[in-house]
């Protein structure tokens, strides 16, 4: 039976993995290795600003070990959603790292760069042709939203990866891709049918997350037309039916319908069976191709600029009158800010109260259970950084010095851990697109460039 083996080194390139796990995985002679780069999960900032959400140092370390292993064993290295958000600067960051590592280690290979960032003019044309549709509760896309976007990426399916493999690329660095797509591509190109190929990708995209104990470590998957088998090369971890089934629920609205570029993976009839105490076999997944083929669009737009400070109180008298106190802080801040020309519409003051509802906000059912100390994250957002900084500064002073009934701590209400206490956090982005684009050819939005190193 046709059997294809894939090694995912870690959940996100830059999260790290033990070298011993990579070596153990490589000793099983995988047909390819790879690592996904992320998703929309860390929020809109990284897509907007064009920087990775893992450190460059950590990403380079992971990439270097993967490149050495792939070239030594003459297998493809495939990286999805480079740099975490998969925009052009993210892709170029990894491309430059790969070139640098190739020079340093004397490695030679053909590299493909698959671009995912979208041209705004093209998108407007597609919008006018009614080829862009909203997902979920989103409204129809407006041209204005396209204009305001800092960056727009489309999420590729397996086809661009398969084209790059076909062209003989050994190292494939891709912009935004569906998390399972790199793996689904390699398996399908090895003649594995789409359902197990996609399911294998679902398991591999987060690597050892599908094992227990969960950790950032390698996952080895063997896929055939009939099943997917998961095991962790690290002997301290095991893929059990529970750990694998748990991971199959990951980050998807439905546990059974997984919408992917080009089709739907249906896991309703899956069976999870232990084949040893460390490996689990999954079978019974189904794939239905989509018509038309759609790719998801993601974009981030500038929302504001932020400044914040962190402080805490240990004063029981203040904690007893917390709501009134914070109300006075707000009133005093508004009055003082107005004095220097920042009106109520020029900024937003958000006081997050940790120890009460800092984590769940208005969904917190226990917001009256206050402990002996309470932490505050005081945040100001405004249309410009200077306004955010100025209003934060005056609100910080109000947190420290606003009087309250029965106050005994007359020198100050708050403990500030740092000097300076205020942090200028820079631009705040928001996700502005969650739409799909109909495509006639799944390769067209994703141009591929080749270079030989």
């Amino acid at each position: 039976m046709n059997e294809y083996r894939m090694l995912s080194v870690t959940a996100t390139h830059g999260y790290g993995f033990p070298i011993s796990s990579l070596e153990a995985g490589m000793s099983r002679k995988p047909d390819m290795i790879g690592a996904d780069g992320g998703s929309v999960d860390p929020g809109p900032h990284y897509l907007g600003i064009g920087e990775p959400f893992c450190s460059k140092r950590a990403i380079r370390r992971d990439l270097q070990l993967m490149l050495r292993a792939a070239i030594e064993h003459k297998i493809p290295l495939v990286m999805g959603t480079c740099g975490g958000a998969g925009g052009e600067p993210h892709l170029q960051l990894l491309a430059e790292m790969a070139r640098d590592i190739a020079r340093e280690d004397g490695l030679h290979f053909k590299m493909a760069l698959i671009h995912a960032e979208q041209d705004k003019g093209d998108l407007k044309k597609r919008l006018r042709e009614k080829k862009i549709h909203p997902l979920g509760r989103m409204a129809d896309l407006e041209e204005e939203t396209i204009d305001h976007a800092e960056r727009v990426v489309a999420m590729m399916g397996p086809e661009p990866f398969m084209a790059a493999l076909e062209a003989g690329a050994q190292v494939i660095l891709a912009g935004r891709s569906s998390d399972p797509a790199p793996w689904a591509a390699c398996a399908q190109r090895a003649q594995i049918s789409p359902a197990p190929a996609w399911f294998a990708g679902k398991m591999l995209e987060c690597a050892a997350t599908a094992s227990i104990p969960k950790g950032h470590d390698c996952l080895l998957v063997t896929v055939t037309d009939d099943y997917v088998e998961c095991e962790a090369p690290n002997p301290e971890r095991a893929c059990t039916p529970l750990s694998v089934a748990n991971h199959s629920l990951h980050e998807n609205p439905s546990p059974i319908h997984h919408i992917e570029p080009g089709g739907l993976l249906d896991t309703a009839n899956c069976k999870f069976e232990a084949v040893s105490d460390r490996a689990t076999r999954i079978s019974g997944m189904e794939w239905t191709p989509a018509d038309p083929y759609t790719v998801k669009l993601e974009a981030a737009e500038l929302a504001a600029y932020r400044a914040f400070t962190i402080c805490g109180t240990r004063d029981p008298l203040l904690i007893e009158t917390l709501d009134d106190f914070l109300g006075h802080v707000r009133d005093n801040t508004a009055s003082k800010a107005a004095d220097f020309g920042a009106g109520p519409d020029d900024y937003k003051l958000i006081i997050r109260t940790y120890g009460r509802d800092g984590v769940m906000g208005e969904r917190e059912p226990l917001k009256n259970n206050l402990g002996h100390e309470v932490g505050f994250l005081v945040e100001v957002v405004a249309d410009d950084q200077e306004t955010a900084n100025s209003v934060l500064s005056i609100s910080r002073t109000q947190m420290l010095h606003t009087d309250f009934p029965g106050r005994m701590c007359r020198e100050g209400n708050m403990a500030f851990p740092f000097s300076p206490s205020d942090v200028e956090a820079g631009p705040v982005y928001r996700f502005s697109m969650h739409h799909v684009l109909d495509v006639e050819d799944p390769l067209v939005p994703f141009p591929i460039e080749y270079e030989t190193l």
Partner: protein, 103 residues
Amino acid sequence: MPTIREVAKVCKSKNAGPFDLTIDVVFADAETYRKVVESGVLNAGLFARLYGVSENEVLFTPYEAANAFKATIPRLVPSGDIGDTDVYGAQQHAPLLDVELPI
């Protein structure tokens, strides 16, 4: 009466895209899963009550193959937007832990 924290193996939350939150409860085996189904406690109405959303905003799916239940609800604020408290949506599961299961 036993609670979810005592009976389940996994109780977790996470983003399902930037606009939705998905909450999973996974049980150890088919027998426990069947008892939980029969108890009728886990349903869209429970999630609507615990999270202050209307029942038709809850996508509730029992998943027998994994001995699991999944509920997906709208986030209060899109991930990372102004006012969000939990960018990854990873700490929104706690209200479920003390739900009693008559099994």
